[in-house]
Amino acid sequence: MSVIIIMIGISFLVAASFLVAFIWASRTGQFDDDYTPSIRILFDDETKQSTNGNNLSSSERRK
């Protein structure tokens, strides 16, 4: 039965690490804004491009 004690110990450690991760994330303000980052990730660091050159350049970038 002693295996149960080990298992429980491990499960607690895992759970507690998630709790700590959450507290850390919350402290550092990662939940303050749940909208802007979703927009920010869509911005390209673009160079000058004409409107009709858009498709071309994006396909080129993919290569």
Binding site: M1, I5, F12, S26, D32, D33, Y35, T36
Partner: protein, 799 residues
Amino acid sequence: MIEEEIAVDQKQVCAHCGDDCKEEPILFEEKVFCCHGCQAVYELLESSDLVGYYDNDQLKASKILDRDIANRKFQALDLPEVQSSLFRYQDEVKSVVRFYLSGIHCSSCIYLLEHLPKLNPAVLRAEVNFIRKEVSLTFNHQEITLKETAVLLASLGYPPTINLDSVDGPRNKSKRSSLGMKIALAGFCFGNSMLISLPEYLDTGFQLDENLKMLFGWVNIIMALPVVFYASQDYFSSSWKGLKHGYLNIDLPISLGIITLFARSMYEILWAVGPGYVDSLTGLVFFLLLGKWYQGKTYEALSFDRDYTSYFPISVLRLTDSGEETVMLKNLKVGDRIIIHNQELVPADGVIEEGEAKLDYSFVTGESDPTLKYAGDKIFAGGRQIGGQLVVKLEKAVNNSELTQMWNNQPSENERVNNYDQLIDRVSKYFTIVVVMLALGTGVYWQISDPSKVWDAVTAVLIVACPCALALALPFAFGHAMRILGSQGIYLKNANVVEAVSHIREIVFDKTGTLTKNNPLSLTFNGKSLTEEEKSLIKTVTSNSAHPLSKIITDHFDRSTKKLPISAFEEEIGKGVIAEVEGNAIRIGSAVWLDVESIHSSNNEIRVYIQINGWNRGYYAIQVEYREGVFEELKLLRDHYKLHLLSGDKETEQQTLSPYFDSLNFNQKPLDKHEYVQGLSQSVLMIGDGLNDAGALNAADVGFAVCEDIHQFSPACHAMVSADAVPSIGNVLKFSKSAMTVVVIALTMAFVYNVIGLSFAVSGNLTPIISAILMPVSSVTVVGFITLAVNWLARKTFS
């Protein structure tokens, strides 16, 4: 009679802000711009390779503030006193500042603002918080000053909002994040404690050995400690506060429950009597905190507590012997001489020393006609100067001025709502008394029949009576209601407003801006068609006058209509203008003044008559436009409520309005409105806009502020109503009422559960497993019922 509709043909749209280019568009690189500001931003973006900004379809960049005005506006940012209160962080090179930008409204705004470092390398980092409409800037203060960053933002079309209340201290938001932490902790303990406690509930087939039992007991204790001593702090402090002030709130029975659960669990585990109730305890706290979080969610970007400080600038120019200096508003003293420029607010009462004032008091009184004042005249704070520069000698300090006094006189929070006997308080008062009596009764009974069971039974009563479902019913019902109203364009300050709204018996309406649209748009010319030359003459005259009606007429002309040189111009306030243009005598004004026979005018239109060389050419009819559906709504409302109208205007529209109201009051000054609302005895809902209604909004049980744009300035209120939602006020009232019915049903359900639980407890049969089942089941069913019922009601009411 020929009517001429205004037709705007071939709008030339500005390549930057998308506005119609009115007078003379500026051509730059084959693109059209409405002003040099817009062109400058375009150039800036282009030179920094950020033209991708314009690819976004949602784009509608803001109008650009003129650089000179911007420089003056942000002058205060050079004062060390202001700087120190605005900086979030500062070291030798870097400074961090956070600005509120009301102009942020779409993803291209984020794009542009976050690319600030590209536009000006002295800005090291820019991060937008879209929800709060804030930008956090890190900049090198050796290369750029705080003022320059503000001007930079303004030149992009995002002038930061800086006024007295943004300087007075940062907003407090840590409360909510600590609540999140408590929920996380309670959730963690709840889950683990359930896991540990599960074997206890299994049948005898699975017998734990004593060591494991001990271990599990100790783990449970470790789980219980942070929940009781950290996560449930608020309940203890709130019930203690309540007790000190002599009333019993809902937190008292909760605290009693938590303490009893904890004490009994400790006893059972430490003395190895039983498994304890730790899983119930942690679960209870977890659910309660969740309810609290749900209720506490508010609209972060909206500000409901604005007073005059939000409107006033933070600094003005003071004239001293040595010259001009920038001085903070709160440091102004009686006797100071200050300079007020065009478009600036008069911050305190004073006497004009130099210059001619044309003050627009629409901001405080709701009247749009500017008041003319000359040197030697006394002027009151709150007016906006239109025209030249003024020198004013102050007679009163800022917070003693006539108008600011009016806000100061008000209790900071509306007492009528706060002291309002809320349903939950009434319920919890009786509830607590009944529970305590029952616990005593149980104790006495068992003392007589079987003294060994006394403590079991008494603690069981306190545990099971803990009003978890009861405490959850209101937060969830109101929280849901608030969200649903939000999707209808009605933003409540907090969830308690739902209850206050459900008690409303009388409704007071403001007229201008509430029932009517803010700007009268429909304009028709009555008379023989004007020739192109006549149009030019009229445009020349009206464009020289600052009167709002003149502006409306000027704006309706095409760009092609030329302006001519003017040789004589005189404006008589409240009457009209006389002018001479290229030898033509032109008079534009009211019928009485021009001695024109006024064909009986209908009620809700204003007429401006035109006379050219003594010949009556006809008149412009400017219609006051009521919001769509307003009258139908008023008709419906009148069946259930007493309706009042308070208007700052003259009685011209009495006939149109009288069938819809129980009482009509015209010529109401802000203070009159305030007193009128205060004089009403029943529960009053005041619906208004603008600062002139601020007093009345505050005096009412519930104040709704109507806003064309909810992010713009609005007076302190309990709810902001977007302009389109005005005709559905009736539905809002109905919805809040039925939401209250749902709450009552949910409370009844909670009581039934409590009676079941208590019957176990009183008979001394409450085992941990019954409590572990009963508590979550009651909470979940009550919350589930409320969610379904409120959503169903919303569909029924608003579809």
